[in-house]
């Protein structure tokens, strides 16, 4: 049994069809519980009620970066091994990643206005996140602009490699540059409590919910792309006959 077996579209459709209901159920449960639990947490002594925005902002930002990293891995698999399902999975992830990035940018701006006194600052993390969002839009546009699917997968794969620099910068910008407004990581594996358990546990549930939601959406969208590709191939064959 090898992971490459799932590069076969029929096997991918069959396997994803089995796990998808469970992932959808988990995504719905964890996202709703995480956000409702987060919304019901007490006010922070400094941030007041705006602390509730963290349960949207942090999971969305996390998935925004990780979605691009997933696209990078899938694109590399396509460029190296030429498995069509991996190229379609990368294509499927882009709109979901773009939405996650947009949520992170908007919730960050909404939180920043009362806390920092500004909606926007050309801070290293904010700027690299904005560039990442533009990369998402460019990636989606490039897929739509090129008619030949293999050429589109090649070029978007290369774009994904370049964009990974900004995905990486978005994650580590606060460590590279200290002059920004954005604070360091709220959660860390390093010792020492950075966030009270009152906020930490609902945040974990929300993060799990956003991850499962991303996974469910990418699986559904990949299945859609496989079906579209199959229909296009059948119609092209019919046209040639």
């Amino acid at each position: 049994m090898s992971i490459w077996e799932y590069a076969n579209p029929v096997k991918f459709l069959r396997a994803s069809g089995i796990v998808l209901p469970w992932i959808v159920a988990g995504a719905a449960l964890c996202t709703v519980v995480g956000l409702v639990w987060g919304f019901l947490t007490p006010d922070d002594y400094r941030q007041g009620a705006t602390v509730k925005i963290v349960f949207l902002h942090v999971p969305a930002a996390l998935m925004a970066i990780n979605a691009w990293m997933m696209m990078l891995v899938a694109s590399l698999v396509w460029l190296i091994r030429r498995h069509h399902v991996s190229a379609l999975a990368a294509k499927a992830a882009a709109p979901v990643g773009a939405v996650m990035t947009l949520i992170a940018l908007i919730t960050g701006a909404i939180w920043g206005q009362p806390m920092w006194g500004t909606w926007w600052e050309w801070d290293p993390r904010l700027t690299s996140f904005l560039v990442l969002f533009l990369f998402y839009l460019g990636y989606i546009a490039l897929w739509e602009a090129i008619e030949d699917p293999d050429s589109a997968a090649d070029l978007t794969g290369l774009l994904c490699l370049v964009g990974s620099v900004f995905a990486f910068l978005s994650r580590y910008a606060v460590n590279f540059w200290n002059q920004g407004l954005h604070q360091g990581a709220s959660l860390s594996v390093a010792p020492g409590e950075r966030m009270s358990s009152v906020y930490r546990y609902p945040l974990y549930v929300s993060m799990l919910g956003f991850f499962l939601l991303f996974l469910a959406l990418v699986l559904i969208r990949t299945r859609t792309e496989i079906r579209r590709r199959r229909l296009a191939a059948l119609l092209a064959r019919e046209h040639r006959a």
Binding site: T31, A49, K52, I53, L56, V99, T107, I220, R221
Partner: protein, 47 residues
């Protein structure tokens, strides 16, 4: 009732906009999948 105080607009707008975006991507994904499945089934049924 949850008291959001002076940050009520801030918190509610963050949740509102985020939920609209999440629901939009979920609906778009489900509809596109249903369309693709139907189109392939119609082709198969055509024989």
């Amino acid at each position: 009732m949850i008291e959001l105080g002076k940050y009520a607009t801030t918190v509610l707008s963050a949740y509102g906009i985020s939920l609209v975006l999440l629901v939009a991507i979920v609906l778009q994904t489900v509809r596109a999948n249903a369309r693709a499945r139907r189109a392939l089934e119609e082709y198969d049924n055509r024989g």
